[in-house]
């Protein structure tokens, strides 16, 4: 460790503060109900009603920002499954 790394070192407290503010804003807004979990289940149920979905071929991603949550659901639908529907 060189003496310069002392100057380069990022302070971690501001990051802690920011992460908490974003997280708690979401947790307070959805107190009791987890909207994202409900949406995920219902959307997948609707798709599964029409095509056979391989649960290994589903990716669900979530990104929570200060003001919005982005729920990204990727469902791979095989050609034969889609035709059968």
């Amino acid at each position: 460790m060189s003496i310069f790394s002392l100057f380069r070192k990022q302070r971690s407290a501001p990051a802690a503060r920011e992460r908490l503010q974003v997280l708690l804003a979401h947790e307070r807004a959805s107190a009791g109900t987890d909207l994202v979990a409900v949406l995920r289940e219902e959307i997948l149920a609707v798709i599964a009603r029409h095509v056979e979905v391989d649960s290994d071929r589903v990716t669900v991603k979530l990104d929570r920002d200060e003001n919005v949550s982005i729920l990204e659901i990727d469902v791979e639908i095989p050609i034969h499954a889609a035709l059968a529907a």
Binding site: R11, S12, A13, P14, R17, L24, E27, R28, A31
Partner: protein
């Protein structure tokens, strides 16, 4: 009628039991009648921190189940004669802690004592919700650390919805007790500052307890930190917090903070 206080946090290991013992002893040292009640059934530790582990005969569950009278289960402190402990059961199932039983015991304690201080177990399950159920005042113990702050936020939500006061449309008095605070690390930007935590949780501050060797030393010998060495930094911070709990408008000071030259001369502005 005494006041019922719950010492709670959500997260474990942040200093609930230490704070319960220290605040209880601080209040009792002024001659107030105090009982500290351990709600952590199966994992009791308040007896150990109070130095009364070898004197436990009956416990809270025995009283709730009608196997012992309250007066038989209460253990008087050897140092302060107005300080009592009601221990939790170490062996019984926590399902024996019934809502009706807890209500009856708390009502009885409230009649006899000036202060009933309930040491909540960690978590948000029945033990924790029963410990806070009849409280007039909540002391939310928080470390300046992300997981502790998040869990405190959750507990504040429960205090506003699951307590008798909240259900009756009243507001439960909530106070933040910031423990294990290291002003040097906070000053360097390596630890959440007092103001950061206050801004996030937005409940009033009752005290700041500095990180200190004295806390471990006190628990080693089985004495509340306010009795082990009343002049130590954490003890003085707990004494101040106890005075604020009693309603004294004492300004908050940040323990161990290096003051500037001008700060030394003019004093720190109260938070």
């Amino acid at each position: 009628m005494g006041k019922v206080i719950v010492v709670t946090s959500g997260k474990g290991g942040v200093g609930k039991t230490t704070s319960t013992a220290a605040l209880g002893a601080a209040l009792a040292s002024k001659g107030e009648r105090v009982v500290v009640v351990d709600f952590d059934v199966g994992l009791r530790n308040l007896d150990l921190v109070m130095g009364a582990e070898r004197r436990v005969v009956y416990d809270l569950i025995n009283v709730i189940q009608g196997e012992a009278k309250l007066s038989q289960a209460l253990i008087r402190d050897k140092r302060l004669e107005t300080l009592f402990l009601l221990p939790a059961s170490q062996t019984r199932d926590k399902d024996n802690l019934t809502p009706e039983g807890v209500e009856r015991v708390i009502a009885e304690l409230r009649r006899v004592f000036d202060w009933v201080i309930c040491d909540s177990p960690a978590g948000i399950e029945s033990g924790a919700t029963l410990a806070m159920r009849h409280a007039d005042v909540a002391v939310v113990v928080t470390n300046p650390e992300v997981s502790s702050v998040r869990d405190s936020d959750r507990i504040i939500g429960l205090l506003d919805s699951k307590t008798v006061k909240a259900e009756n449309g009243e507001r439960i008095e909530k106070h933040l007790l910031l423990t294990r605070y290291d002003s040097n690390r906070a000053e360097r930007g390596d630890m959440l500052k007092v103001d950061d935590v206050l801004e996030i949780l937005s409940i009033p501050l009752i005290g700041i307890i500095p990180e200190s060797m004295d806390v471990l030393r006190a628990s080693n010998i089985g004495a509340p930190v306010t009795l082990a060495d009343a002049t130590s930094m954490p003890a003085m911070a707990y004494f101040d917090a106890a005075r604020r709990l009693s309603g004294e408008p004492l300004p908050i000071t940040i323990p161990g903070e290096k003051r500037s030259f001008f700060g030394k001369i003019f004093g720190r502005k109260a938070a």
